[in-house]
């Protein structure tokens, strides 16, 4: 399909002909249908589609949190032994209310048996990078939604996974906070160059963040189109005001809007 991999290079994530079928009382429901995606090392791929198209299901299958009905997904291990294959950032604030901010960030490291001093140093480093250094000792109920989501994002990064899987991480935030976090994500990603699969329903967000935008069809989720986003990096929120950005978005929206309309008619 759209496996854009240069010869000889092993993709970081190789999803081949993946399907997910749920058994329901009304018979089989195909959530994801024959979906393939290769992600190269250090690539930021955004998956966009109408709501209910199975994009989150696809991400959960990569993360090993949902079963694969057909096909296969592989993540290539890196050179460092013991390094986790993936970390997930969920849409809802999946942070532990009984742990302080810094202990939340250090959680993945703690579970891997890394010594307290070392894991707190790493957590401190990441908290400082997103401006949460002085909230290290706070409990989650004392901080805002935007801060909570920053905590989940740096918790995933502190764990230093091979790939970062993000399931609409900014979906629950208000518009202004979202813009601030988009900019932070851009800054951090451009420094770390992690391999990222990013699920979003916001086309603007996908074009702003991604190297590639994958469109999925409405249920069942199939591959609809792939767009390479050749906007120069480093990008910032200003990038969204450039003519190239607007062109990209218009082109993708044309394709996506047809699909959204088709999905709405289908549901009637």
């Amino acid at each position: 399909m759209d496996a854009q991999v240069s010869a000889g290079q092993v993709p970081k994530i190789a999803a081949r002909n993946v399907s997910r079928i749920y058994q329901t009382v009304d018979g089989d429901m195909v959530a994801v249908d024959d979906f393939s995606l290769d992600v190269t090392d250090g690539e930021f791929v955004c998956v966009v589609g109408p709501s209910g198209c199975g994009k989150s299901t696809f991400l959960r299958m990569i993360a090993g949190l949902d079963t694969i009905s057909a096909g296969s997904i592989q993540i290539a291990p890196g050179g460092v032994p013991g390094k986790p294959l993936n970390s997930v950032v969920f849409q809802e604030y999946a942070i532990f209310p009984w742990k302080t901010v810094i202990d939340n960030v250090a959680f993945g490291l703690e579970m891997r048996g890394i010594a307290r001093k070392e894991r707190l140093e790493t957590a401190r480093y990441w908290l400082d990078r997103v401006g949460l250094g002085k909230f290290a000792g706070y409990y989650p109920h004392q901080i805002s939604g935007g801060m909570k989501q920053r905590v989940s994002i740096v918790r995933a990064l502190a764990n230093d996974p091979e790939v970062l899987l993000m399931d609409e991480p900014l979906g629950a935030l208000d518009a202004q906070t979202r813009v601030v976090l988009q900019e932070e994500l851009l800054r951090i990603w451009e420094e770390t160059r992690k391999t990222v699969v990013y699920i979003t329903h916001s086309l603007d967000e996908a074009v702003l963040l991604g190297d590639r935008v994958i469109l999925m069809t409405a249920q069942p989720g199939r591959h609809l189109a792939t767009f390479d986003i050749d906007l120069p990096r480093p990008r910032s929120i200003e990038t969204a005001n450039t003519p190239r950005f607007v062109e990209h978005r218009a082109l993708i929206w044309e394709k996506l809007s047809q699909e959204v309309k088709r999905a709405m008619e289908q549901n009637q």
Binding site: L65, N86, S87, E92, A94, F96, M111
Partner: protein, 264 residues
């Protein structure tokens, strides 16, 4: 438009916000005891019907000096500690099983549903046959009375743990055991501790009920004997000590909650 009384919307969002005031709580108890003392001193309350507070205090004092208080209290405390701990340990384990495993869930629900509403006091004679007239039946009565509310509050707490936190743990490759100890246990703790609030008072209730049959020692036996002899000052003295015991338990639990649930 000019601001006239007709054009100004008055503030209406008043009331429906009661506040706590510990001083008012203590003062109302003091006031009640004061009224009681006054009524007795003025001869409005018959001493046989209800002895004056100073007579009750005197009964407690005599009980303390003679060593009777400590003898009864230590026996009762021992029964509560043993019975409550036993019921709690087994109850928490069963609550976790009910909240975690399909195999345990429905059988346990049926079991708890049938037996929880049964008054455990009605079972005391049966427990005497099963576990003996001595310590066995008393500890069993308390343990079983504590068991059911503990199962219910623990299972409810386990079920209330956010699924996304469990998924998160799985995404970090945690073992089943780690998810239970690192995520489900702390998540269920508020509900488990709320259950303790109930079971601590249940254990005092059942202690007295169990000690009313075939017990020589213990606060329950002491109260029953005082009643048989129409020693109402000793009877109320025993009740005051039970109330103090309840207060002590609530205080200890409050301390535990402040320590364990600091994050709330």
């Amino acid at each position: 438009m000019r601001a006239t009384p007709e054009t100004i919307v008055p503030f209406r969002a008043k009331g429906f916000a009661p506040r706590s005031n510990p001083v008012m709580g203590a003062a109302s108890i003091a006031a009640l005891v004061g009224l009681w003392q006054l009524g007795s001193s003025l001869g409005w309350i018959s001493p046989v019907f209800l002895p004056a507070p100073h007579e009750v205090a005197g009964a407690i004092y005599r009980m303390a000096v003679s060593g009777e208080l400590w003898r009864h209290l230590s026996v009762s405390l021992w029964r509560i500690v043993l019975g409550w701990t036993l019921g709690t340990v087994v109850g928490v384990a069963a609550g976790f099983a009910m909240g975690l495993f399909t195999l345990a869930r429905s059988p346990m629900q049926a079991f708890v549903g049938i037996l929880f509403p049964v008054p455990k006091i009605a079972l005391v004679p049966l427990f005497i046959i099963w576990f003996g007239i001595d310590e066995g039946s008393k500890i069993a009565t308390i343990a079983i009375g504590v068991f059911f509310p503990t199962v219910i509050s623990t299972a409810a707490g386990v079920e209330a743990v956010q699924k996304n936190l469990i998924r998160l743990g799985q995404s970090f490759n945690l073992s089943r055991w780690s998810i239970i100890t690192k995520i489900i246990l702390p998540g269920a703790l508020p509900s488990i501790l709320a259950g303790f609030r109930i079971t601590l008072s249940v254990s005092i209730l059942l202690l007295v009920a169990a000690e009313m049959i075939g017990a020589q020692e213990g606060l329950g036996a002491y109260i029953i004997r005082a009643g048989d002899l129409f020693q109402t000052d000793s009877l109320i003295g025993g009740v005051v000590i039970l109330a103090a015991l309840g207060l002590l338990f609530v205080g200890l639990l409050g301390l535990a909650e402040r320590r364990l649930l600091r994050w709330r």
